[in-house]
Amino acid sequence: MRILIIEDEKPLREDIIYYLSENGHKCDFASSVKSGLEKLSENKYSCALVDIGLPDGSGIEIIEYIKDKNPEMGVIIITAANSLEDKLTGLKIGADDYLTKPFHLSELSARIYSVIRRRNFGGRNTLVFDGLEIDTKEKKVLANGIHLVFTKKEYDILLYLASNPTHLITKEALAENIWGDKAEMATTFDFVYSQIKNLKKKLNEAGLTNFIKVVYGLGYKFKD
């Protein structure tokens, strides 16, 4: 996928580009409203990450431009907490999703996948790995052709991991993805662990032993 990152903070932008490139995306960047609009007029992107607070204006301008010229393009707002009233306002102005800084790169990657999938009507809705197929439209998982039944949480975790196939996912990022602002509960990581255990068990039983590795103390990896 081709993604445009409009963010004026250089180190942050570089990390995002690095991470997303590792996930197989082709990334362009802009650091202002002006250069962002230029990039948008020159190329076609599947998704844009837009910071609201830019040095020469508001990212809202960019979103309005996208909605006008290229409405099928996905838009994710990445912004400081004080720039917009809340997520709702972000979605109202036409964004598909909204992330407040700081965010987990794995979360960003998962959101991008989700936005692209939603945008890609009738297109590719299936993630395919060695012997594992995840049909995101039907929410169906096939292991070597066998239909596996997962609970909703197990499925969400699997999808989250699959959206970051080569990266380490911290247990904090995973917990936040599942429980949101309830992730601070002391028992959260035990939950994550037990969900992962069930998930692995089901995959193992279906003969898929290569997926989901525990990285001691830090988190999990979908595959090596």
Partner: protein
């Protein structure tokens, strides 16, 4: 004690003491005066007697108005020319001294008239001292009473008119709120001290307000400005974590930096949220049924409730609709329920939720001690076992204040109860 009550007491005590001293002095002066008056009368009686004797009048004919009792005895020879006084009580009824007894003063002298010598005594009774005292006491009480009434009325007048700017100032400071009110404006007064007081308070509150504003802006700026560096740090760490060839030591360090950053980031989020609430950035409202709100939260937290095997007791009898900002009400109930679950006993605890049109209460069993009320909603009170208690509760308090609700906390037999008056 009220200012006027206190001054009233002082002036009353002073008045009473002054009256008592005054009465005592007056009494003494009168007694001395009466005494010398009596002596003079007795001496003038002596003159009259001597004069009469010289004129040859018989002592029997002496009118009684010069003395109450006159005795004249012929003696052989005058032995002294001195006057001698004697005081004694005379009973009108019995011999014994009682209330009716009179003080009688007696003058004895000798004189020689027309070659005859006489020993003469003249006596005169005195209005009794005690009686004078009683009169004076009576007068004092009457005057005291009158002056008390006058003082009371005077203070009423003073408090109503003279002190009214002072009390107005007092009421204004009492209701002044650094977050809400504008600068204090006081009513004009021509009393210098009150002018000074008002001016000083005005200056002070202005100073406090500007300090508060600066501090608030500082905190806001810090937390807002911290977001970008925090984002950079957390993404950098996330990338660092992707490295595979770490030693155990490096691995641990990265993990610890990551966790510390997470904490910092959560803290910052709360700070930003709080300042946004304070700055009233959550204006939009929806009509929310609190029962739905509670049910949704219980469902969202189902995993944690089940894990601790917590029994939920619900006492709802009616739908309660409120116009609230949905974001804030979500955060509020989230924090309330998270607290009730997080600080519940290890396993098999209870959470009781009561909702009616007036109030919402939540009770949870807990091993924790009663929370000190002074620090209950303070932002960064650290409890012995968790650092996040203070932030959660102060966030709850902040939202409740924002909604104009009230919260009360009680602790009894290991059950913590928060009651919110809607």
């Amino acid at each position: 004690m009220k200012l006027l009550t206190k001054t009233n007491i002082y002036t009353s005590v002073t008045t009473i003491v002054l009256f008592a001293v005054g009465v005592f002095v007056v009494f003494k002066v009168i007694v001395v005066k009466l005494d010398s008056e009596q002596d003079e009368q007795l001496l003038s009686a002596k003159e009259i007697i001597i004069k009469s004797l010289k004129e040859g009048k018989l002592p029997e004919l002496f009118s009684s108005n010069i003395g109450e009792k006159i005795t004249i005895k012929e003696i052989y020879k005058q032995t002294t020319s001195a006057n001698s006084y004697k005081e004694y009580y005379e009973n009108t009824v019995g011999e014994e001294e009682d209330e009716e007894s009179l003080i009688v003063k007696e003058l004895s002298f000798q004189c020689s008239v027309n070659d005859k010598s006489y020993a003469i005594t003249v006596s005169k009774s005195l209005v009794e001292g005690k009686e004078i005292g009683e009169y004076l006491l009576g007068i004092m009480v009457v005057f005291l009473f009158i002056s008390m009434v006058v003082l009371f009325l005077l203070y009423r007048f003073i408090s109503a008119y003279v002190f009214s700017p002072f009390y107005e100032t007092l009421t204004k400071i009492k209701t002044w709120n650094i977050k809400k009110n504008d600068s204090l404006v006081f009513q004009d007064t021509n009393i210098e001290e009150f002018q000074l007081l008002n001016k000083t308070i005005q200056n002070l509150t202005q100073q406090i307000k500007s300090d508060y504003r600066n501090l608030k802006e500082f905190t806001e700026n810090v937390s807002h400005e911290a977001q970008t560096p925090l984002s950079i740090i957390s993404t950098k760490i996330e990338l660092l974590m992707q490295e595979k060839n770490y030693s155990i030591k490096q691995h641990e360090s990265v993990q610890q930096i990551f966790q510390a950053t997470q904490r910092l980031y959560k803290l910052n989020q709360v700070l930003i949220l709080m300042s946004r609430i304070e700055n009233k950035q959550f204006v939009a409202t929806d009509t929310i049924n609190l029962i739905d709100c509670i049910e949704v939260k219980l469902e969202e937290l189902e995993d944690f409730i089940e894990a601790k095997q917590i029994t939920i007791i619900k006492e709802f009898n009616t739908n309660v609709f409120k116009d609230l900002n949905p974001v804030l009400s979500d955060i509020l109930f989230n924090n309330i329920f998270i607290n009730a679950i997080k600080y519940n006993i290890e396993i098999g605890g209870t959470i009781k939720i009561i909702l009616n049109t007036e109030s919402f209460s939540i009770e949870n069993t807990s091993n924790r001690n009663k929370i000190d009320k002074r620090f209950l909603f303070e932002r960064f009170t650290k409890s012995s076992t968790s650092g996040s208690l203070g932030v959660g509760l102060s966030l709850i308090k902040k939202i409740i204040d924002y909604f104009n609700w009230q919260i009360a906390y009680t602790h009894k037999d290991g059950v913590h109860k928060f009651k919110i008056y809607l």
